[in-house]
Subunit: 406 residues, 2 copies
């Protein structure tokens, strides 16, 4: 059995790094806070005698040797980076539960057949550089390290520069090595498990997504002198596109997702009709057909909405992820572990993207969800109970152990 | 006659300070750039033998003594601060034309009966601290120096701190002293004079305005997991209010003005449904009744639009300025000077706010407008011709001289 108190202590210890006054965490990827989180994790791994590798995109792999070192390892993990005003558990739970699995294996003197590796993927959140699941995306070959290195944050800092500045551009190539399986524990970040009072979600796959960058160009002009007929107000045009995103989502009912989360106005002065607005758009749906349909129609409709307000809207598609089903045998291990342990569980589709989605392209993969209060995530008030964390960790332990010894 | 070339040279010299790559100016109030502009002006005034006073809110007064020093001075001027991406002439023209009047008076050895004072008002633009016409507002007693000192920019810096940091919190009280008249030359910042090919606008008054600060509060949540029915998207609510501002403006036809120029999203992350949006709202109209009607209905309607999206919208009214007619005798001096000089002119209402609006509460006031290209202002491409600047300056010269010698 894993040690529930020790798991909770490591979660609280990690949450000190980047702690916000409202009880959340700001540990943006590749910042000094992320560096501090990585170093704390590395220290804990060293204490356990694990061997640490860092790859060229900063992904961290901590290896516990198996009886047969030639067998491909079983991977488990998640991410330590957070949203700008994120919670203590989104990502950290999966990494620190993996650490707790390692600690329990050591303490119980268990030797596994296959090696086990704990992974901390770089930049899962995507909020700083515009591409979520970045580290796992590079590792999986979805895009090249060079493309990732060149991504910039709002201050113009590139991923490459940020990696170097925290000393985490590792020497190992960021390419998929052979692995036997990947298990990721994560909070659900939605309301379903809590509403149905289930401790475990057996994640069968993740929904499809498409992300865009939008720039609306109108014309800066004086708020007091520019008559309605000659205004080319980029913010008004953006408002119309924001409403279009919402309508496009609602057309798909409760399964639809459509969000403008990031928006910047230029010159952003009270008495200037805005000449430029930059913003993000993303859509999601459990069925890839719906996302494809949106990707087919939305750019044209958005362009029309902008043009109707005298503005132009070049839309750049950042990326598209199809719906990703997980590996049936790995999912079955999770389902069986939950049943054996007596936890109420259900199959569930992930609303969020996870590193598991990209890893699943190369490695048999499954995920375990645990509930979070009010389904709230990407919010400083994100909250879970120690026994919920422990239940997820115990399922992870059993699934990983079963796979490594098969 | 004033020296058109010398006037143009001082405009170009001032435009070097805070020059932007696109040919505009970024000389935000009470920044090091503003300080540099003020110091250049002070040096030019010293060279002319003028006596400089700075008041407690940073307004600068450069005095040329009259034959009768006991007579109240005739004031002329405008402002040297600019928008974040503003033009070279908005404000600077009025100050440097005033300087050119002083230079011409010296050169022509003209002694005036009344003293003449050139004024550079602090923070006319309002884009940094949220209150346009700030320096003239304090001087006119519209609000107290302490209220002004406490205003903060987006970084939390107060007006008081900013004044001290550039060394322009002067020793003279910022209160209205007795003055005989105030004349302000400014570019029109709108399309009327250019369209009608008139060199001079005889400004008979300025329109009414009301400015607000708005904060919409919803709830941050995960873009991938939060279903349409439970979203409390502050940016979607803001989009609806932006459309309401536009509709409220258009209901008043071509004379209506309604603008959201400033907007900030929190946490501003691509995959987070925004939980908070802060923005500005301002409305203007030539008749005060229309602005009063808007101020009566808009806050309630905006609150309803926010509530319909599960959000709250506390709206703070920052200030309201009634329509301000200018002094008939001063306006007549401007009209007469333009006619005598043979310039095509017309009466015009100012769409923009100007320091003259507040000064007019205590001092007989008039303004002179000159055309600008495509009516464009609050834009780096704002542009005027040297002969347009010279015509405005010549009218200013004659009006000021006539008043000072009456
Ligand atoms: N798990 C999680 O919050 N991932 C962030 C990527 C996304 O789904 O937007
Ligand atoms: N003249 C001018 O642009 N003033 C700024 C104040 C305003 O009218 O918004």
């Amino acid at each position: 059995r894993i040690d529930a108190g020790r798991l909770w202590n490591s979660l609280m210890s990690m949450a000190e790094i980047g702690a916000t006054p409202k009880g959340g965490v700001r540990r943006l990827t590749l910042t000094p806070e992320d560096q501090a989180g990585r170093e704390r994790l590395a220290g804990w791994c060293r204490d356990l005698g694990l061997t640490l590798r860092v790859d060229a995109i900063g992904n961290m792999f901590a290896r516990r040797e198996g009886r047969d070192p030639s067998r491909p390892p079983v991977l488990m993990g998640s991410h330590l980076d957070s949203q700008p005003s994120g919670g203590k558990f989104d990502g950290a739970l999966g990494v620190l539960a993996g650490l707790e699995v390692m600690r329990s294996l050591n303490e119980l003197n268990i030797a596994t057949e296959a090696p086990i590796e704990l992974v901390n993927w770089t930049d899962e959140e995507g909020s700083r550089f515009g591409h979520s699941l970045m580290g796992s995306g590079v590792w999986s070959g979805v895009f090249t390290p060079d493309k990732a290195y060149a991504l910039r944050d709002v201050d113009g800092i590139t991923v490459g520069e940020a990696l170097d500045s925290i000393g985490f551009r590792g020497e190992h190539p960021a390419t998929p090595f052979e692995a036997d399986a990947y298990f990721e524990l994560h909070i659900e970040q939605g309301p379903i498990l809590e509403r149905e009072a289930r401790q475990i979600g057996v994640v069968t796959g993740a929904q499809a997504q498409v992300w865009y960058d939008a720039v609306i160009t109108g014309q800066d002009s004086h708020a007091g002198t520019t008559p309605p007929s000659t205004r080319r107000d980029a913010l008004l045009a953006a408002a119309r596109v924001i409403e279009l995103v919402d309508a496009t989502m609602r057309k798909r009912g409760e399964d639809g997702r459509g969000t403008v989360g990031f928006l910047q106005v230029h010159p952003n002065s009270r008495n200037v009709v805005p000449g430029e607005v930059r913003f993000s758009v993303e859509f999601r749906h459990p069925t890839v057909e719906q996302v494809e349909a949106i990707a087919g129609s939305f750019p044209g409709e958005a362009g029309k909405a902008a043009a109707a307000n005298g503005c132009q809207l070049p839309l750049t598609e950042l990326y598209r992820i199809p719906a990703q089903p997980f590996d049936a045998s790995c999912v079955a291990l999770v389902r069986a572990a939950a049943a054996r342990l007596g936890y109420a569980s259900r199959d569930i589709i992930s609303g969020a993207g996870h590193d598991a989605v990209y890893v699943a392209r190369h490695v048999p993969t499954a995920m375990i969800f645990t509930p979070c209060k009010d389904g709230l995530s990407h919010n400083e008030e994100e909250s879970i109970l120690p026994e919920e964390a422990a239940a997820g960790c115990q399922v992870l332990f059993e699934a990983v152990l079963a796979r490594a010894n098969r």
